[in-house]
Structures are given as C-alpha cells and as structure tokens.
C-alpha cells in the first residue's frame, strides 16, 4: 500500500508519512499503532527481565557474602560515602519523575514540553555521573580500591582481624563492579534520552506515536530501581552512629 492510497483516511495517511528516521511510523508487520506500541513495551519488559538476571546475580552474590562475612562487610559499608549515595538516589528519583512526565506530555501532543523534560532528565543523569565520579575520587582518597590503594593495616587498626581484611576487599570489589555497571547503564541512558529529546523537539512524537519515549522511560526507571537497591545493600549495611563513636 502506498501513502497516497485513495482508500486511506487522513489519520491513516499520517501514519505512513516518513518520519525523521526515514521509516514508516507503522511497521508493516503490525495491524495498528496500538499493537505496535504494545509490542515495543513488551519487548523492553522482556529485556528488563534479562537485566534483572544480570544485576540479580550480583545482588545474590553480595547478599551471600554479606551473611558469611557480616562483620567485615558492615565495617567496609560505613566507610563508603553515604551522603553522595543518598543524594544520588534522590537525583535519580527526580529524573524518573521528569521522564514519566515527558511521556505524559508526549502522549498529550505537547512535544516541546516533553523535549524540555527529557533534557532535564539527561542533565540529572549527568549530575548523577558527576557526583559518582567525585565519589570515586573520594574513594581513591580514602584508599578503598583493592589492588591499587588499599592499606591492610588500616583495617586491622579499625578492629578487624587479619582474616577479615580480605572480606573487606571482597565487599569493595562488589561495590566497584556493581556501581560501575550501573554507571554504564546510566551513560547509555543519557545518550538515548538525548536522542529522543532531539526527536521530541522536532515534533517527532504525538498522542498516537510515542513508543520510543515509552520504552526509553521503562529502561530509565529500571536503572533507577537498581540504584534503589544499591543504596541499602552497599551504603547502609552498618550503623553510622556506632561507626562515628
């Protein structure tokens, strides 16, 4: 069927218009846009299911060693910068709020508002990475990098036995691997949000065609959820009041 088919209604003809991606908005294998949108969001949910497995193995490993080496893990946990960890949680939650509002306004045919909200989302993502980068530098300063800057005697002075020091290193390996993989996800998310923001600015999305904003928002929320679990499981295992005393 060609876009100028005489039997098409105006609405249907609009669907055939080439978008800026030079692709039909309604792919030929779908009956209608609703079906296409559902297929897109289902696909993203399945991908997120595999992501649950990916991060789930790391969380399970962390939980098992937390139960085996509780004392060392609690000592190591209170040394992490919980203030930046906590602020970053709020930064990500607000960015989840702005991206869900972007979807809301894209669906209401208010593309420019959606574009602004996506820009704010990307900037909050960059703020998260900036704070995380500063925190990594702080960790370097505090000698919390096993194999690079790590002083075993420091930890023995803090009341741990020589057998428990490798457990501290194990905790820190979990910390670095999990936060680095999370930061990688945020980085990919920022790039995707920037692209979708540019498309929204040019009026690419409407109340009938908004699936890219939808699936991107799902991904962004998932990355947020991973951090929601990282906060208590990495930063808040011990008691800060006791550590200070």
């Amino acid at each position: 069927m060609s876009p100028d088919h005489a039997l098409l209604t105006n609405d249907e003809r609009a669907l055939f218009e080439y978008s800026m991606l030079k692709r039909h908005r309604l792919e030929e294998q779908f009956e209608n846009l609703e079906q296409q949108t559902h297929a897109a969001s289902t696909g993203m949910w399945v991908f997120l299911g595999t992501e649950v497995m990916f991060f789930g193995t790391l969380f399970t490993g962390l939980a098992i060693y937390r139960f085996l080496y509780g004392t060392a893990f609690e000592h190591a946990s209170v040394e992490l910068n919980w203030i930046i960890g906590g602020i970053n949680t709020i930064v990500l939650l607000v960015s989840s709020g702005t991206i869900v509002l972007a979807l809301h306004f894209a669906r209401a045919d208010r593309s420019r508002v959606a574009a602004w909200l996506l820009i704010v989302t990307a900037l909050l993502g960059l703020l998260f990475l900036g704070l995380k980068g500063y925190e990594y530098y702080d960790d370097y300063d505090q000698q919390l990098i096993p194999g690079w800057t790590f002083d075993e005697h420091d930890w023995i002075d803090r009341g741990l036995t020589a057998e428990q020091v490798p457990h501290v290193q194990l905790f820190l390996v979990f910390y670095w691997v999990m936060t680095a993989f999370h930061a990688l996800h945020v980085t990919i998310g920022i790039a995707a949000v920037a692209i979708v923001a540019a498309l929204a600015w040019r009026g690419h999305f409407s109340s009938t065609y908004y699936a890219p904003v939808d699936v991107l928002a799902l991904y962004w929320h998932f990355v947020d959820v991973v951090w929601i679990f990282l906060l208590p499981m990495l930063y808040l295992e011990g008691t800060h009041a006791l550590a200070a005393g």
Binding site: F67, L68, G97, A108, P232, T239, A241
Partner: protein, 101 residues
C-alpha cells in the same frame, strides 16, 4: 489524544513519597540496631519504593497483560536464584554428625 495513564498530580505525589522513603532509609542506618536489621529495613523499604516505581512510573498494570507476566517471571527466576543459592550457603557445615559414622 491518548488517554493519560495517571495525572501529573499522581506522578508528583509518588515522587514525593519516594523521596520521603529514601530519607527514611538513610535515617534507619543511624538507629543503633544489629547489622542484619539495617539490611532488612533498608531492603524492605527498597522493595516498597521499587513497587511504587513499577506500578505508577512504569505503568505495570496499564499495558498489555503479558507485561505483568514478564515482570512476574523475572521476579520468580530471581527467586529461584536466591532460594537455591541460600539453601546451599546457609546450611553448609551445619549438619550434626550422623550416628554410627
């Protein structure tokens, strides 16, 4: 115009609730409790927060039913991983010696 899934007011209310719960999570870590209670409280609040995000921000129940199924399957598989791993590690070396051996 597509039917809005939730109102702007709902989104903002959920966001405020999430921020309050984050502050609560951090506050709990200052209460002098045994270590595992910190973890239990922190993860418990995190589950609540993740549920709010899934239901209100990710529109878990607004889309096709297969999405709910996908989410359940993901959690179920994660549950298998957790239950089998912990039933191994938590029970190691705890069996009493068998009489006669």
């Amino acid at each position: 115009m597509a039917e809005p899934m939730h109102s702007v007011k709902t989104y903002l209310t959920v966001l405020v609730a999430l921020i309050v719960l984050t502050i609560a999570t951090v506050a709990v870590s200052f209460v002098p409790l045994e270590g595992h209670w910190h973890l239990a409280a922190g993860v418990g609040i995190a589950v609540l927060k993740a549920s709010l995000v899934a239901v209100f921000f990710m529109h878990l129940f607004a889309g096709p039913r297969v999405v709910v199924l996908t989410a359940i399957v993901a959690c179920f598989w994660l549950g298998i991983l957790g239950v089998l791993s912990f039933s191994d590690y938590l029970t190691r070396g705890e069996w009493p010696s068998v009489p006669g051996h």
